[in-house]
Structures are given as C-alpha cells and as structure tokens.
Amino acid sequence: MSRLNSLKELEARRREIIAADKEKTAAVAVCCGTGCSASGARDVAAEFERLITEKGLAVRVRTRITGCHGFCEQGPLVVVEEAGSRPEHSTSLNDSNARPAGGESGPGGLLYCRVKPEDAEEILETSVLNDGVVEHLLYKDPVTGEKFRSENDVPFYAHQSRMLMGYNGRIDPGRIEDYLTAGGYGGLAQVLGGSMPPEDVIKEIEISGLRGRGGGGYPTGSKWDLCRRVEGEIRYVVCNADEGDPGCFQDRSILEGNPHLVLEGMIIAAYAVGAYEGYIYVRAEYPLALKQVATALEQAYEWGLLGDNILGSDLSFRVRISRGGGAFVCGEETALLSSIEGLTGEPNPRPRPPYPTSIGLWGFPTLINNVKTLAAVPDIIKKGGAWHASTGTDTSKGTMIFSLTGRVNNTGLVEVPMGMSLRELIFDVGGGIPGGRKFKAVQTGGPAGGCLPAEMLDLPLDYERLSEAGSIMGSGGMIVMDESTCMVDVARYFLSFTVDESCGKCTPCREGGRQMLALLDKFVHGTALEGDLNMLFELAATMQSSSLCALGKLAPNPVLTTLRYFEDEYRSHFEQWRCPAGVCRPLISYTIDAEACTACGRCLEACLAGALTGVEDEVPELDDQLCTKCGACRDVCRFSAILVG
C-alpha cells in the first residue's frame, strides 16, 4: 500500500476499502484472544477458512480472526454478523456513530459459545447461508437455563458499556483496513485538520475527565499539559504496556485485539505534547501482543501514519517497541524508563520529584501513559471531552475495564461505566459465584490492592471510594473469592509476590516486606502471638510512608485490608489453631468419612506420599504423619468422602 499524503487521501482510502468489501455480506468472527486460543480457537478459525474456500463462499463471506471479546469463560467464541450490524455503515471518518456494535449500538451478531472445529460446517450452513440458529451452541444462562441469540442480549455483555473493548470483535488486528472502516484514525485526522492546536487537544482531554488507567489515577490532561510546558526540543511519549499484575489481562487484550487504537492515541499525545519519538514498553510474557504491535507499526509507517510528515502535516513521530524482561517493578514509571535506557543495568526506581514529565527518558521530558488511557484518547477527540465526561461519577469519568476472575461464573474482561457497584459487577455481569457457594471477598487493584468483604458490595467503583475503603483501582484486577479462600493465605500470597518482585533498592520495601511475610508465616503455622497483629500494622505504616516507589508503598494493602475486614480469621489461626477455610496446611487435617466412602480405591492411586493404605473393598486408612495435605485424594474422590477440618 502506498503512503497517504493528506487527510483527503486517508478518506479516499477508507472509501476504497469499504467499496472493495461490499460484496461480503456476512462475516464470521472467531475470537483468537489468548483465552480462546488456549481453548482451541485457532483450529476453529482454520476450519472456517477451509470450508469457506471449499464451498466457494470467499467472495461474500469473510472469516475474521479477532482479538479478545472478553467472555473467555465461554471460549472459543464465534460471532456471525448479520448484514446491517457491520461497522461499514458509517459514512465518514469523523462520523461519531462510526462505532462497532457489541454494546451500546447495533443489533450485535449471533453469538456461539464453546465452538469446536466440527461445528463450523453447521454454523455456515445454518446461520451464514440461511437465517437459522444453531441452538445447541447458543449461550445458556447457568441458573435459569434461558438461551440467548445475540451478543448484546447475553447478561454478561448487556450490563457492560464497551467503549474500548467493543472494537475488538469487529477488527482483525492484523488489518489496518478494519480499523479504518471502524472509524479509526478519525481522531488523528481531526487534530491534524488544522482546527485543533495542541492546547485545544489538551483542553479536550482535561474536559473529558480522563484519569490514568494504570493505577495512579492522575488526571491525564494535566499530565500532558505539564509535559508540554517543559522547555526544550526533545520530548518522548511512552506507552506503558508492562502489565504485570497477576490476574490482569486487559492491556494485553487491547494490544492484541486493536493495536492501532493505542497507536492513534500515542500519535495524538505526541502532537499535543510536542514529541518526535515514542516507545511502547511491552511485557516479555506477551508474545502475541508484541507481534500484533510490530505488525501495526509496520503498517502505520507504510501508510504514512507514522514517520516524517504524518498525512502530509508538520507532525513527525516514530515509535519503537521495547520489550520487558519479566520484572514486575518495570511497570513503575521510573523503573520502566531505566529499563528502556538499558545500559544502566537493572531498573531502578528513583525518588520524585522530578517527575518524568520534566526529567524522564535520557533526561528529557517524557509522557508515560497506560495502554487503556491512550486507547481512550481517539474517541474523546472524535466525540468531544463532554461525551466522555457524561459517563461515570463526579471524580471518575468514562469506563473501566476489569479482569473479572477467581471464583466467579463469568470469568473474562468486562468494561463498565465508572461508578457501577461491586455487586452489579460481580453478580449481574459476572453471574455470581459458582457451585452455590457464598461470596466472601473481592480483591481489587492487583497485588497492591485490597480485599473488600461482602458488606462493601454496594461500594461504587471509583478511584476515591476504593481508596477510602483501603483498596485501589489499580489497573483493573478484580479477583472474586468465596468461602473456600483463606484471607490470611491470600494476604500472604500477595505479599510474597511483592516481596519477590521488590527490586531491593530501598530498605523499607526490601526488609519491611520480608519481615511482614515472616509474621504472616507464623499465622499460617498457628504460632503467631497477639503482639504480632500490632507489629504488622507498624511495619505496614513504615513501608507506606517511606518506600521509594508505589510497589513498596502499596504492598501492605492486602494485609491491612484483610486485617481490617477479617480480623477474626487471623485470630482463629492463633487462638484456636484453626484455618476456617481449610487452606493453611499446618492447621488442617484430612479424615475419611467411612459412611460416604465406597472403597473404590481411586484415592490410593492418587496419593504420592503413601499416606493412604488399604485393601480392596475396605475404607482406606489415612496416616496423618505421612499426609502432606496436598489434596490429590480429595480431587479424585467422587463421593465427597475426604473431609478437611
């Protein structure tokens, strides 16, 4: 494809693409995000492609391999788009209705769940060549048994407002053409159109109320303004895609599913702050994201959307990829910058001020924004800051993408308006807790966030409310726990993660974390004393007030919130030597319920420790001394005859 030299050429190219695709009246979108791929989506997509070629349907039916649709629990997902729901129906680049369906607009396509390659033929015959529906692949509500046809009717999607994620289902991330037909690069066209000087772009972002989606929640407009005001010729724009929180995969899904959206946000940011160079810092463990970003960069250079004189304007901007090395602390901005600089050795967080907006990469002013923050920019420019500000609460505007995981029915990525309550998110969108168990707590904000109990379920999700409750928005982790989760164990899990990931530069984080972990170990072993509770608070206070970076400052959060809301559980660990959830191994023992046991012998084979002995047709004997409490016997028992207490 040749380079585009003006806004007119961009518009013409877009029309060309739409015209060329006109013959195609149906599309089969196969989600090939990481979750669906792991469930076999690539084989499904290949089968569709094979059948479409074999049946000579390639002229009018398109297989679209897309990024994550969010409903990972039901993967592999296939959406058959009916004509009319396709994004091509927008008329201009600047058309604010040029939005993909899958949320607020459009009828949405037919949604098929847990599709296998052998279902492809039936789907093609029934729903693509005819108007039928393949009943057995429709989503079925696990509680009511009700079946849903369209994507938008499924409760999981119906309660969301998918401003950013909605694009994913309609775009093949490897095709810049798809992004263009969905109205892509319209925001860039607008700022380059001559009527929007950089100051106005920043103003619009300020009006939108957008705040940093990586965790801090700093107002994005102010950050841009700060960076722009620093004197000097050289500035950098850095996209932070070092998403390291366990249980978080929204940044990855946007980069994998719609890399151009982030790129467009970066180019607009570069225009606003006056940068000529930028970096996308991608986590090393995300090979697919790296690949999609590299492809997107290549296309953008080829089309003249990156490089010198973008679309014939005065704006020049280059972007490079920087690959992380698998260190959580690199998501922290100053550590990230030193990691890009590379030659300084291992990354080092440093005290602030000066903030990176004044002294950043190689000592120059640097704007660092999270993937989701940058992804929100193009639509804010296209539709105006006021449009964005109309969603959300007083202090938190727009939508937030959460990774809803753990003990919840509908695991996946959900995008909801700021201010939605935890209850709506977990029970309406997430479908509640599986197996009829009881909700116990939800952990928000990743390993540096806090655990909130059932009493807090009506808390609205907004930066301030979460922080008052002792947690954080973070980058959107949302881990649901039921009564089988031990809160001491969970606190210990998160703390051991941050201790492991501490870079060791400052003493409060390096030593404080380690000491807190040693204390938590005493609870797990039932050897804690009353005074240890206080000691935990003291250590936490020191870490919070004197650590160099957010990793150390926030690390005590999981311990503090579990102490605040689940003190009784801590107490029962040392007052009664009991772990109520039956998790902490030193405090539990296994027994066999002779009534329930059928002497099938499955547990005998499963036990590696040799703790179970027995002969045919007799209830096995369990040797408590040899038992490692690994739970293997319990996993294989079909009669719930292994009891934990």
């Binding site: 990481t34 979750g35 791929s37 792991a38 469930s39 990972c72 629990e73 993967g75 390291g244 929180d245 366990p246 249980g247 978080c248 995969f249 990855r252 090393a284 463990e285 995300y286 090979p287 920087s322 690959r323 992380g324 090395g325 698998g326 260190a327 959580f328 990691s339 590379g342 030659l343 050795g345 291992e346 990354p347 990774s403 995981t405 753990g406 003990r407 695991t411 996946g412 952990q443 990743g446 390993p447 982790g477 881990i479 726990m481 989760t485 969970v490 899990y493 998160f494 993660f497 870079c503 499963a606 590696l608 690994c630 739970g631 293997a632 996993d635 294989v636």
Partner: protein, 154 residues
Amino acid sequence: MKEQVEQIIDRHSHAEGRVDLVAILHEVNSTQRYLSREALEMIAQKLAVPLSRLYSMAAFYRSFNLEPRGDHEVHICLGTACHVRGGERIFDRLSERLGIGSGETTSDRKFTINRVNCVGACALGPLVVIDGRYYGRLDPLKAERLLEEYYEQA
C-alpha cells in the same frame, strides 16, 4: 556462536549510540537457550559494558537463564486466579514428581519448570504452559499425566 552474537548486537544497536541491551539478552537467551558466560563476556567486550552489569541484569530479569534450559519448558501459572483455584498444588505435585524446584532443570535435561505470575488466560485456570502451549482447567493429577505424555514423546 561468536558470529551469531555479533549479528544480534548489531541488530539492536541504533543511531546516537543507543543500544537495546534487554533485546540483545532476549535474543541470545532464546537462540542459545541460556546466557552463557562466554556470550555475556562477548557482549561486554563489544559494547564496553562491565560484565558485572550484564550479570546483574541477567540475574534480575526473570526472562533470562544463566543455566541451559531443558527440552521442554513447563510454566506453572500462579497468578491470583490460578492461586485461588489451586495452582500451588499443581506446582507442588510437578515439582515433587520431577524432583526439582522452580527455575531448575531435571538432570536428564528433559524438563525445566518455572513458577510464573499470570499468563493472562485466567478463565482457564489453573493452567500450565508447556513449550508455549496452554493447558487449562487442570488439577494436580491431570497435570502430572500431561507431563507423562511429554515424557513419552521425549
């Protein structure tokens, strides 16, 4: 090896004397299965960087190995979602079965196991990734059987 390492260094050396050191280490680590002392010395010499600094980076970042990895790389996900669904028990079982800890390689060089913090496929947890392939909804016994299949192949 010398030529290969030199090519890698050239590929990641940009204008204005900027060198993407992490990228160099990544590529050497993946083409040679680990960062050998010889390779690190070569990089240090060519870029005039102290060897100690390279060693500190190689030791700091999880992605790098200072010992050769086994034929099959097994990553056991211990992200939060996998943790609350029993990922730890899977790790324990595989670790006991192979007789090695995280980051270690069996003496026959067949398997290397690693604990990892979330591979981002939480809906399928608990899961393990073997040679880049994801296996979801496991329990300790299923994971062990999976390993046995790989053993038979190897």
